[in-house]
Symmetry: C2
Subunit: 429 residues, 2 copies
């Protein structure tokens, strides 16, 4: 088993103002090459700390991937740290100088002397060309490990990994069959229920590690392939092919157990699943939101091409808006209250009639922190879906703060649409 | 200077499906106690990896904070790892057993034997009571370092830190004057411009470290206090009081240089700043969105109490919706196109007239990836703000993918409102 560590460099990552997104795709790209990330270290812009982290990593894994600290400023310390810790002094690379100058010429920008710091690489290191930015990466063999330094800018690191790192690792014999991972996304079940429902399907000592992740979007089940520790299997394609079949069989049996709560797989999001279904079936939709405040419209329109099926959204935060935009009668509002099945129904029907779409979706609820009562607590949410034949209503009771209730409500509403367009049972009314 | 390392435990954190949010508030809480986090390590659910990480951390910092791995399942390995690496076997604590049983009784839940694993703590460790959950934390002196193990569930860890860890660190003499940090948030400037504008204000070798962070929300400037390495200053309150004054003076001079682009400080978000201003001045607002798809309404309604000033939102993704909901004439749409200053104007005026609010905000633009032309490229966005006296129009040209353009557009639109309600110049028309 080939192991890797990711070292993310940047004081801002330690302070927490920003999360390190690069390690997410780096882990994934490495897993595709059969390389498992065992550790991730975050360290500030500090030469002595970076050097310590490099030494520790080089002793415990086969591949060390450093992310960040390659830019032109005085705070970019990866080059200096690697030079110091490996004992290979920095040397200016003329080809890199030329490439940086050409880049600035093309963009008609004035070059500063700082920019040329990026052309200083440790002696003997392989330069990794940056085809979409200025700072090149570099790689070298250091003791028993392979050190790879990538820029912190995400799209540059991603491009560099595909174009130069992957071929390099392959040439050097680090690549193994991919560590397969599948994720099954569900909505509407508790973590404990999912656990009980599928526990017997995945043997504890088997070839796959089972993981459960609960979030406002629902509970996701992940299955990760575990490579045998013994290198003798590394050439044994048959073994991995069998694993692949077994993994897909497992995914299928888990999905069957969790049906109809399974809404997607791997990177799929609810809004994409719903959007694809609407597009394929030629159905248009309009949305009337109260407590979600526009979040459902926002999520639907995150999908490119959503203008093909999303006609309009109405965020009626006031009763006046519910009446004037959707035709909800003041009498109904007075009698049942804005958060009620009756108002959800009228909102869904009203937005569908006004827009002329096939479907009209509505949400009304209490996001909190204020506005809850004993009868109608914070987290009480009604979803309405008006269709040519019938209007469906579902009641939800969500937990969490205002932001979480909004997220869960948007997910619940989109799930009602999914169940309708997929011809699934609606669940508890 | 007291240093700390955070070790976050969980295979899901390595795979990247989920980011580790605990280390964000832990860093902040430690900084408030004058303790600087120098390293952060993420490690999977694997005893040998956890032990390695513990050994490395114990050698390089004064305080090791472990987050996660304290739950009842077989995958919760922090207790076992600490026992193994420190040589202190696990012992069942009767008081913890009692507390767990009482908790289950109160909630009328059946207790499983797994739950009692949480009562096993390393010999001699101090138990850290969990007042909002089941798994207790624990702490011990180990060699030269202080080891603190907290549950992975955020609100439990947060509560435990305040209630038990903070007093413990204080008793043991680890606490120093807080490492102050201030952040100044701007919108509408490039990172390079901010850098140039303020470079001379913050001496490189001074008491504060300057950081710049660019995101779709704008460029933020952070100033972090650096404690003197020499412990002799630790009792010198005067030194730190002077620093405090100096920090506030710096924040003020930086703000003056970046005026009127500064929209907030520290944890403030644009929607909070705008919301507070609207509430305080008694102004109501309605929003007409096209390319942002509901994101502006969503952001405005993230703020508790926004129903006091937010009347409605309209997401008019089709021309039909623009005409029927906002009264934008088909002739104007034909003549200028949906993405134009003229349509932005009519949308803002239309939503304001329909809702009867003091202000009407509109956005129309091309979020991409498709729909751009040479004359109207992806990222071209018009914002309109209709007020009782005048309608303002601003044109933006944003870079980035669909999601980024939507975020920047929502931020640009809210900034237009901010400038209006604060009586600031509108910027380039």
């Amino acid at each position: 088993m080939i192991s890797a560590e990711i070292i993310a460099i940047g004081s801002e990552l330690l302070l927490g103002g920003r999360t390190d997104t690069n390690s997410v795709f780096l882990s994934e790209m490495l897993a595709n090459l059969g390389i498992e990330v065992g550790f991730k270290t975050v360290v500030g812009d500090n030469v002595s700390h970076i050097c310590q982290a490099l030494v520790v990593a080089s002793r415990r894994v086969d591949i060390v991937v450093v992310s960040g600290g390659l830019g032109p400023t005085i705070d970019d310390l990866t080059r200096d740290s690697v030079a110091r810790v490996t004992g290979r002094p920095l040397r200016r690379r003329d080809r890199v100088v030329k490439a940086i100058k050409e880049r600035f010429d093309r963009q008609r920008r004035e070059i500063t002397t700082n920019q040329l710091r990026q052309a200083q690489l440790p002696m003997g290191a392989d330069c990794l060309t940056n085809s979409v930015g200025t700072a090149p990466g570099f790689s070298m063999k250091w003791g028993k490990c392979r050190l790879i330094c990538l820029p912190g800018v995400s799209h540059e690191a991603r491009q560099m990994f595909t174009e130069t790192v992957q071929p390099l690792l392959s040439r050097e014999g680090y690549v193994r069959p991919p560590l397969r991972m599948r994720t099954i996304h569900t909505f509407g079940l508790l973590e404990g229920h999912v656990d009980e429902a599928i526990a017997d399907l995945v043997p504890k000592s088997g070839r796959f590690r089972l993981g459960l992740l609960a979030s406002p979007m629902g509970v996701s089940v992940s299955l990760t392939e575990i490579h045998p520790e013994h290198e003798k299997n590394k050439e044994n394609r048959l073994f991995f092919d069998n694993n692949k079949v077994e993994l897909e069989v497992l995914v299928k049996s888990i999905s069957t157990r969790l049906y109809p709560h399974v809404y997607g797989y791997d990177h799929e999001k609810m809004e994409e699943v719903v959007g694809n279904r609407l597009r394929d079936s030629g159905l248009s939709i309009s949305v009337a939101e109260s407590c979600t405040g526009g979040l459902i419209g926002h999520r639907i329109t995150q999908v490119a091409g959503s203008s093909g099926y999303f006609e309009r959204g109405v965020v009626c935060y006031s009763n006046h808006a519910k009446t004037s935009l959707l035709g909800v009668s003041p009498a109904i509002l007075r009698r049942y209250g804005a958060v009620s099945a009756q108002v959800a129904r009228r909102m869904a029907e009203g937005v569908r009639e006004g827009s002329g779409t096939a479907l009209g979706l509505s949400v009304t609820g209490i996001a909190g922190p204020l506005g809850g009562t004993a009868a109608k607590p914070v987290g009480l949410v009604y979803v309405g879906l008006s269709t040519p034949n019938k209007t469906f209503i579902r009641e939800f009771r969500f937990h969490g703060d205002r932001g979480i209730v909004k997220l869960r409500s948007s997910q619940g509403a989109l799930d009602v649409v999914r169940r309708h367009v997929c011809g699934l049972p609606m669940g508890d009314a």
